[in-house]
Every structure is written in structure tokens, then in C-alpha cells.
């Protein structure tokens, strides 16, 4: 039974147009891809034809093609093209296994449960967030969350949880952080960070925060 929760899989800005990317979430291999100008899709990383990872595929327009036999899939998952049979309309049953994909606060979220009744994490208005960087930790998501709660940002920090996989931290008057926590497997965790406030209004401010996160990451890895 899969728990109904929205799991972050990366910063939306990291998913380049016309690219397909391998991501591991809770031990599952997924392909996160987008077309030239389409939305981000989150699929099982396996072509339903012969088991090739779709993250190794190539994008033409808004179609993802498997590298092995060139089968083309539209962003809704349906196979639209089988090159071995150019005149054949592929049956509707040939479909990549897709998961929901939602963008909020500049972060892409997915949900593996059938129900998907839980709401997306909510830390207020959607606008105004700036993507900072992702960091990766060699520890479980639980341990990573505990470590993040102990971080010293140099200001009194007010931390709230936003659903199972996100922490919102108000750092002094000028900076609000959202840390979205991606469980990769039992010993690996990704943390995707977006921010808002005067402290990240300039490129220099964003760079300073990104470097600060790198520093925190190194300390958490050592702990």
C-alpha cells in the first residue's frame, strides 16, 4: 500500500526543455521529461515494449521516443508512433505508466498512491519563490529532516512542516526557505530548496544562500 503523499522530485528549473532525466524516488526509477514547450511529465522509467529506460530516450517536439525501437509517446503517456509499422495507429492499451506531476513553488511533485486525495504542500501564495539549488545527503529522509531542524542559519528560525515532505523556515525578517525533501532510498535524500524575501532579491543574495546550503550540506554529511 503506497502512502498518499506528494513527494518532491526536483526543481522545475532543473528540468530542461526537450530532455528526459532519470530520478529515483523511494527506490522507484522514474523518468522526468518535458517536450520543447510542454509540461513536466513523471513516468515509470521503463518503456512498456521491451523494458528500456525512457530516461535514455530522445525528445522530438513534445514526444518522447524510446532509444531502442523509437516508439513515440505523447505527454499523456499514450504511444503515438511505432516506427516498425509506420501505418499502424498504436492501440490505446500501449501506454507508459505515468504518475501525476504538479508544479508548485518551483518544485515538481508526484504521488504514487492510487487515491491522490491529499492536498499539495501549502506554504501560502504560489508566487514569489526563487529556485536556489538542490543538495543531496547520504542519509535517510527522516535523518535528513532531523539534521535540517538543527541547522543554525544565524537568525532565530521559525520552522513549520508543510506536509510529510517539506519544511518551511522563516530565517530572520528577510528570508523564507522551503526545503522539499525527496526520499531517494533508505540511505539517500535529495533536498530541493526555493526561497523568497529581500535576501534573495539579487543574484548575489541567491549565490550567497546557495553557498550557505552547500556549507550546511557538508556539515550534515559529516555529522
Amino acid at each position: 500500500m503506497t502512502i498518499d503523499s506528494w513527494i518532491p522530485i526536483g526543481l522545475e528549473s532543473q528540468i530542461q526543455p526537450a530532455s528526459s532525466n532519470p530520478v529515483i524516488v523511494e527506490g522507484r526509477s522514474i523518468a522526468v521529461w518535458r517536450g520543447d514547450d510542454g509540461p513536466v511529465s513523471v513516468w515509470e522509467d521503463r518503456c512498456p515494449h521491451r523494458g528500456m529506460p525512457l530516461s535514455m530516450g530522445f525528445v522530438r517536439g513534445n514526444t518522447l521516443h524510446c532509444i531502442y525501437h523509437g516508439w513515440g509517446y505523447a505527454s499523456d503517456g499514450h504511444c503515438t508512433n511505432i516506427p516498425a509499422h509506420p501505418d499502424l495507429q498504436p492501440p490505446k492499451t500501449i501506454c507508459a505508466n505515468s504518475y501525476p506531476s504538479r508544479s508548485r513553488y518551483g518544485i515538481v511533485w508526484t504521488n504514487f498512491s492510487e487515491a491522490q486525495l491529499s492536498p499539495l504542500p501549502d506554504v501560502g501564495v504560489e508566487d514569489g519563490w526563487t529556485s536556489i539549488r538542490s543538495i543531496y545527503l547520504s542519509k535517510s529522509a527522516e535523518k535528513a529532516s532531523e539534521d535540517i531542524l538543527k541547522l543554525n542559519f544565524g537568525f532565530a528560525a521559525d520552522t513549520k512542516t508543510a506536509g510529510k515532505n517539506a519544511l518551511s523556515i522563516q530565517v530572520g525578517p528577510d528570508l523564507e526557505l522551503l526545503l522539499a525533501i525527496q526520499p531517494i532510498d533508505a540511505a539517500k535524500t535529495g533536498v530541493h530548496v526555493v526561497a523568497k524575501g529581500p535576501a534573495v532579491a539579487t543574484a548575489a543574495g541567491r549565490l550567497k544562500l546557495a553557498r550557505g546550503l552547500e556549507h550546511h550540506r557538508n556539515k550534515m554529511e559529516a555529522s
Binding site: S29, D45, R46, P48, H49, R50, G51, M52, P53, M56, I67, Y68, H69, G70, I82, P83, A84, H85, P86, L88, P90, T93, I94
Partner: protein
């Protein structure tokens, strides 16, 4: 963990090396179906093979045959001889072996890739296929009960007439032609193709792949051939086949699961996969579980 090996698999002839790999008087240790064996080359075409026990001492003697440029053994009692491939006896052919290529996947994935034409245009662009000629025409498949082999007959595909380099030198014209071949699966671990030649309608090139399953998801593949190409050298042919094989290796090492699913709803075939469908059904009828994905589901 040692995998359970089905009787049908245990009694097969299995390639375990290639002729020329082991110098006369020398020995080589390798693994077949999880069992360590030692091959000793007595002289050019004569080998002795023994199973090794856990402490590396020689155990029981195993059968050994050198044929089609490969060395074959069996851990059980083979119920039939090696297949007949008389092309390897014909003196006007270029006969060679590409050595053993390590590939981490199920042996059956390697066989299936070899009988698959639909990937030529994508994986072997300008070597075995053209990016704008991707159609696989209808072909026949049959199970030949008398020899218990799977055949795919009259398989046609548009292929480059010459290598891309030659075409580029001659003005970039991509000359292509429709080629015809038959595929023949002689055992779960051996496959070959007969490719029609332009010069003589009565004779075909013969190209084989013999797979050594080291474990369920780790193999050595030996490609051997008996080509009818007076103008080419064996070493050029080996180079070409190795280039093709290394392109396949990238695909094969990344397919998931590595074990071959036999459930046709888990990996969805199309008409071009008729030979793969016949192969998977045949494995299922033989009740082969070694190297297949089905047992995980069941």
C-alpha cells in the same frame, strides 16, 4: 545466492569459450550457470573440461566439444547433439569469432536482441539500418518440432548498401537495399541468422551468437560467422561485428528488469516482435524459469 537451474537448461550444450582463447597445454577457469569449470586445451581442437568444487579442486568430468569457433560443454546430460551448421565446414567462407563479450543481462535478452530487426534504424543507424527506413515487413515464424527450434522466415529490412564512411566518401549518397534473412534459434542460448547474398541465391552468410550464462543476469556472448565475402578480411568482419555488438551492449545492460519477462502483458509486443513472441512462448512451454522474470511474480 545460487539460482535453481531447470533440467532443460542444465542439459543444454553451452558455449564456455572460443577456439584460440586458450593456448595448447594451458587452462582457463570460467563459470557456467553458476558452476565454476576449468577448461584445458589439450591441442588445437581438443579440450578437457572439469567442474570445480568450492575449494577449487577438480570434480566431475564434463563433456567438451569445439565447433563453430567455440568451445561447448554441458553440466547435465545433453538430450541432443549440437546443431548442424555445415556452413562452418565450407572452405570458401570467411570464418571467424569476435571473442567473448561480457554483457550483464539475461541470456534470453541477448538472443531476443539478435533476432530483432526493429532496432536497426535506432541503435545501429547507418550500420544496419537507416533512420528514415524503419518498417519491419510481415515475416513468418515457426516452431520446427523435429529439431525443437524456433525459426523466423523471410525477414526483410532496408539496410545500407555500404558503410556510412564509404557512402560519405562517394558523395554522401546513402544507398540502401532491401535485405532478406532467416533467423534460427537452436537453443535458449544459441541463435543464428542466414542472410541472403547478392551474388549467389543458393547460399547465405551464416552469423551465430552463442551465449554463456555465467549467472541469470551475467553472460558472455560469442559471435561467430561464416561469411561469403571474398573481398573482406576476417579481421575487418570482426571489427564490424564488434562495433555493432557494442552498440547493442549499451541497450542490453540497461533493460529492466534484466531477467526476461514471459508475461505478454508486462512487456507489450507488436507485429514486428512475432519472433520474440514465439521465443518467449517456447521458453514458457519448456517451463524454463532460470533467467526469466516470471518466477518473481509467481
Amino acid at each position: 545466492m545460487t539460482a535453481i537451474v531447470d533440467t532443460a537448461v542444465w542439459n543444454e550444450w553451452i558455449a564456455c569459450g572460443w577456439v584460440g582463447q586458450i593456448a595448447a597445454g594451458a587452462s582457463h577457469v570460467t563459470t557456467v550457470l553458476g558452476q565454476k569449470i576449468r577448461i584445458t586445451c589439450v591441442d588445437e581442437n581438443s579440450y578437457e573440461i572439469v567442474a570445480l568444487t568450492d575449494d577449487q579442486t577438480a570434480g566431475r568430468r564434463l563433456p567438451a566439444k569445439a565447433r563453430f569457433c567455440c568451445i561447448f560443454t554441458s553440466l547435465g546430460d545433453p538430450t541432443r547433439d549440437l546443431p548442424l551448421i555445415p556452413e562452418f565446414e565450407e572452405s570458401d567462407r570467411k570464418i571467424g569469432c569476435c571473442g567473448g563479450i561480457g554483457i550483464r543481462t539475461s541470456p534470453y535478452r541477448i538472443i531476443e536482441n539478435f533476432i530483432d530487426m526493429a532496432h536497426f534504424s535506432f541503435v545501429h543507424t547507418d550500420l544496419l539500418g537507416l533512420s528514415d527506413k524503419t518498417e519491419v515487413l510481415t515475416y513468418r515464424t515457426e516452431h520446427r518440432a523435429d529439431v525443437d527450434e524456433i525459426w523466423a522466415i523471410d525477414c526483410m529490412y532496408v539496410q545500407p548498401l555500404r558503410s556510412k564512411a564509404v557512402n560519405d566518401v562517394e558523395g554522401g549518397k546513402r544507398e540502401s537495399h532491401m535485405t532478406t534473412r532467416d533467423y534460427r534459434i537452436m537453443s535458449p542460448f544459441s541463435v543464428m541468422l542466414y542472410r541472403a547474398t547478392d551474388s549467389d541465391p543458393t547460399r547465405s552468410h551464416a552469423i551465430c551468437v552463442f551465449v554463456q550464462p555465467v549467472s541469470e543476469t551475467e553472460c558472455l556472448a560469442y559471435m561467430t560467422f561464416a561469411y561469403l565475402v571474398p573481398g573482406s578480411s576476417v579481421s575487418n568482419l570482426v571489427d564490424f561485428q564488434q562495433a555493432v555488438f557494442l552498440q547493442d551492449r549499451v541497450i542490453l545492460e540497461n533493460q529492466r528488469p534484466a531477467l526476461l519477462p514471459l508475461d505478454p502483458t508486462y512487456e507489450l509486443p507488436t507485429k514486428a516482435d512475432a519472433s520474440s513472441i514465439a521465443f518467449r512462448r517456447w521458453l514458457k512451454r519448456k517451463n524454463i524459469r532460470y533467467g526469466t522474470y516470471e518466477k518473481q511474480a509467481g
